[in-house]
Point group: C2
Amino acid sequence: MQTIRFHLDFISPYAYLAWTQIHALADRCGAVVEVAPVLFAGLLNHHGQKGPAEIPAKRRYVFKDTLRRAILLGVPVAPPSSHPFNPLLALRAVMAAPPDAKRALVDGLFAATWGRAAVKGIDRAEVVESVARDAGLDGAALVARAAAPDVKDALRRATEDAIAAGVFGVPSMQVGAEIFWGLDSFDLLEHHLRGEDPITPELLETLLAIPSSAQR
Amino acid sequence: MQTIRFHLDFISPYAYLAWTQIHALADRCGAVVEVAPVLFAGLLNHHGQKGPAEIPAKRRYVFKDTLRRAILLGVPVAPPSSHPFNPLLALRAVMAAPPDAKRALVDGLFAATWGRAAVKGIDRAEVVESVARDAGLDGAALVARAAAPDVKDALRRATEDAIAAGVFGVPSMQVGAEIFWGLDSFDLLEHHLRGEDPITPELLETLLAIPSSAQR
């Protein structure tokens, strides 16, 4: 059975939309979803890039695009209590949660960010605690565990591993060595999982070998 | 009749793919396409952002994604002779061309960059000249005209106007004050042109008004 490693950060509305669709895609293709929290700010720092929220025109566009996509997909959306916000506690909580509870926890954390949860703001410990409780976990214990050095290290390592695998944005769906970036890559991801990836390795190598004008 | 202002730079393979699809979309919706050359590097500079070609992981991804999309769309694709390259001459030539010749000229310039034209490399005057001839123009005269100060100014102004309209990447399709970015926004562009844009202005305003954590 193929595994889709779903790299996410709660900061991204596209990660939310993609998360609401990924399990149906996995079911259709007989694949499983593995949650991989990463710090988007870490990806941006590594690549020396600004986030969409730091570019006013892009921030505006991303919110419009998210809203249009959410409405077309029938996904509930409501503003987060702040944005950008510090996602570290929520990401570490997912890292620290038992494997079989991660999906429900991520559902709850996304709902408390971009969805219509009653209580929002996952940068606050009491909100993460309450979301964890709703996911059937000991909320206080999970929040305490999220602060442990080995959990912090695990998130840092997951972010480094994602970078090493070629991830530069969220959501990114990784299948083996292949990365698919963004909600709009879902059709390509599905082709790939079905063994119908249209890519031609020879042409790809030719493209990647193009010299820049400076080198010519 | 609605007008789709198609902001393009030949540097972008997505602009190529989108260009091959935009006229069919316009025909379906009873709209017309207006060519708007812009300097992508100017957009990036304005927003303090790196281009995809400057981030190795993203460059690799973009070429893969382009290739997959091109094959699925049945669009011919072949490596440009160099990348990135200086697109100024080609952009200015489009700016200087008579309105009714722009479409054929853009077709030819894209084919000589990302398509399977026999001669490639639109950073060279002789290539632009020959593409212009194939488009029914006086190639030598167009290349000479492309170097005139008012043509250079016109490209600079078009780039500034695009930025003022909220454009941060190419291709961007502008309909009135609305911007749609990228090939993957074509479905949203079509909804918009048909008067079926799903966006809810009230929710958008709420999203745009979200404070950052720092402000809270």
